[in-house]
């Protein structure tokens, strides 16, 4: 259960093509993350899978059955919305019971499933309250609870954590990952936050302007980005993308080097520069070094106890085995 195949699906709003025809296969039990900058069509793609938008062309299959013309309710998918979309006039219990009630399930089975969901998500303390009386994280849990009681073949998450504060986001991230490990059902998760994508996904789908730029496991994308866009998008802090003479020296139009693959020295090295702002995180320090002939400062990761100050002269040496080379189209040169 939970295998989704998308064949040549496209979506246009009037004359604007949001998603050009694309193919995608999602395997059973996978945690797939759609990631991309805002407006890249990732939410639209999710809504096409959910059935909340009609496809302009192409086919969607769920568990091998054609689902393109099925209404959302018949697809056996559950969705968690960005705004949670809880029903404000119903208690938490009634919110969670709603899909079961709509399915005409008998009361004892309903109660069994609600209690089970409440136990899994620790909702018991506020099961009789209304959504208006809950905090953001609690609402998020209720929204997930409403999704899991249906025992859907796949879960769809539409930027579920973007309304939460940073600390809560990390906590809920772990909880959702844990839920996936426990339920073992397919989950599709949309986010613009590449940290969420890296930490949660089995498979990341990077989208730009409706096109799939690359599909792969988090580390695969990190180590072998197919093009300069993916290289710049995945990883925090971002990969340094360098153009000009320093790139030509490596027979490329653009070279990419991650902050951890540059070594810093005060007396000798390949590139000379001045230390700008540095961010001390304790375990690591990220230096922004302005080098001659480069428009943007280079980000370098060094150990936390380095003694370098604003304005100091340093020499940078990129680790040549970890340099990514891209041609004029931004595609990777093997």
């Amino acid at each position: 259960m939970g295998q989704i195949t998308i064949k040549q699906v496209s979506k246009s709003f009037g004359d604007v093509e949001v998603i050009p025809p694309l193919d995608l296969a999602i395997e059973e039990g996978e945690f797939v993350v759609f990631v991309g900058p805002s407006g890249c069509g990732k939410s639209t793609l999710l809504r096409l899978i959910a059935g909340l938008e009609d496809v302009s062309s192409g086919h969607i299959e769920i568990d091998g059955q054609p689902a393109t013309d099925l209404p959302p309710a018949k697809r056996g998918l559950a969705m968690v919305f960005q705004s949670y979309a809880l029903y404000p006039h119903m208690s938490v219990r009634k919110n969670i019971a709603f899909p079961l009630k709509m399915a005409g399930m008998d009361k004892t089975e309903q109660n069994r499933r609600i209690d089970e969901a409440a136990r899994v998500l620790n909702l018991a303390d506020y099961i009789d309250r209304r959504p208006g009386q809950l905090s953001g994280g609690q609402r998020q849990r209720v929204a997930i609870g409403r999704a899991i009681v249906r025992e859907p073949s796949a879960f769809l998450f539409d930027e579920p954590l973007s309304n939460l504060d940073a600390a809560l986001r990390v906590g809920m991230r772990l909880e959702i990952t844990e839920l996936h490990k426990r339920l073992k059902s397919t989950m599709i998760y949309v986010t613009h936050d590449q940290v969420e994508a890296m930490t949660m996904a089995d498979k990341i789908v990077v989208l730009r302007a409706g096109n799939i730029e690359q599909i792969g496991s988090p580390l695969e994308l990190y180590r072998n980005p197919r093009n300069a866009f993916v290289a710049g998008f995945i990883g925090s802090p971002k990969m340094n993308l360098i153009e000009g003479d320093k790139a030509t020296a490596f027979d490329a139009s653009t070279i990419g080097i991650r902050p951890e693959h540059i070594s810093v020295s005060t007396d000798s090295g390949d590139w000379e520069g001045t230390v700008g702002v540095s961010e001390h995180l304790g375990s690591d320090t990220f230096l922004r070094v302005s080098c001659e002939g480069l428009d943007e400062p280079v980000t370098v990761r060094v150990s936390g106890d380095i003694e370098l100050n604003y304005g100091d002269k340093v020499f940078l040496s990129p680790d040549s085995s970890n340099i990514h080379r891209f041609d004029t189209q931004g595609l990777r040169i093997a």
Binding site: L52, P72, M79, L86, Y87, H89, F98
Partner: protein
Amino acid sequence: MATQHSRASARLMISPSVLLLLGWMLIPLCMTVYFSFLRYDLLSPGTEVFTGWDNYYYFLTDPSFNDAVINTLSLLVGVLLVTVIGGIGFALLLNLPAWGQGIVRVLVIAPFFVMPTVSGLLWKNMFMNPVNGVFAHITLAFGGQPFDFLGQAPWESIILMVSWQWLPFATLILLTALQSLDQEQLEAAEMDGASWLNRFWHIILPHLSRAITVVILIQTIFLLSIFAEILVTTNGGPGTASTNLTYLIYVQSLLQYDVGVGSAGGVIAIILANIVAIFLMRMVGKNLDK
């Protein structure tokens, strides 16, 4: 100390307007109560004497009184039913994306701006007239016998006119309420397997409950005192078929020149309005607390 002082001076400064409003309300009320205990005949001025509860007795035992109370309440219930149900229907329709939406919305709201007397005359002469009215022409075109609305079904006709006037108000309030409904809630309900009817019943209607309460409360205030529509169309007749309390008070004080009985009717109307208000608040007012 500072807040205490500013609070005291604030009270002092708003007191003139409070006193003015209080006088505005209390003086007419007290005069009505005072007149209701006088034998006050406009045909023989200067002969007012205190008569105790006689005016109340005459008003309550007037053969038109029962009809007037029943008519007042049936108008209230009838118009509320039509406007709330119709208003929800119109609001749902107007909320759909359509070509020319702006113009349609203005047209729907237009009847609210027509004066009650004008609307009464419009309906009487242009629509319901059994000789010249549009309805008569339509019936004749199909070979039927024209229906004399104001003669055969006067009260129903007036309910129709008043509903026509108040439907835009209900539609407008309910439409704005509908537009504030989070679309993701409807989508979530759709994913949860709710049919359109279920979504309407479990999501849309609860969301509208507060707006419906506002519509009912505001309309009640105005519907209890409907007068102009009756005066220009049926004059309360035939018989007492279209007489409500307001109209009965008008008949007593200005057609029969008996201000005393009219005032007694006014006091009874106030009491009746309060009874209705208490029931309404009990029924729908709790929606406002949420």
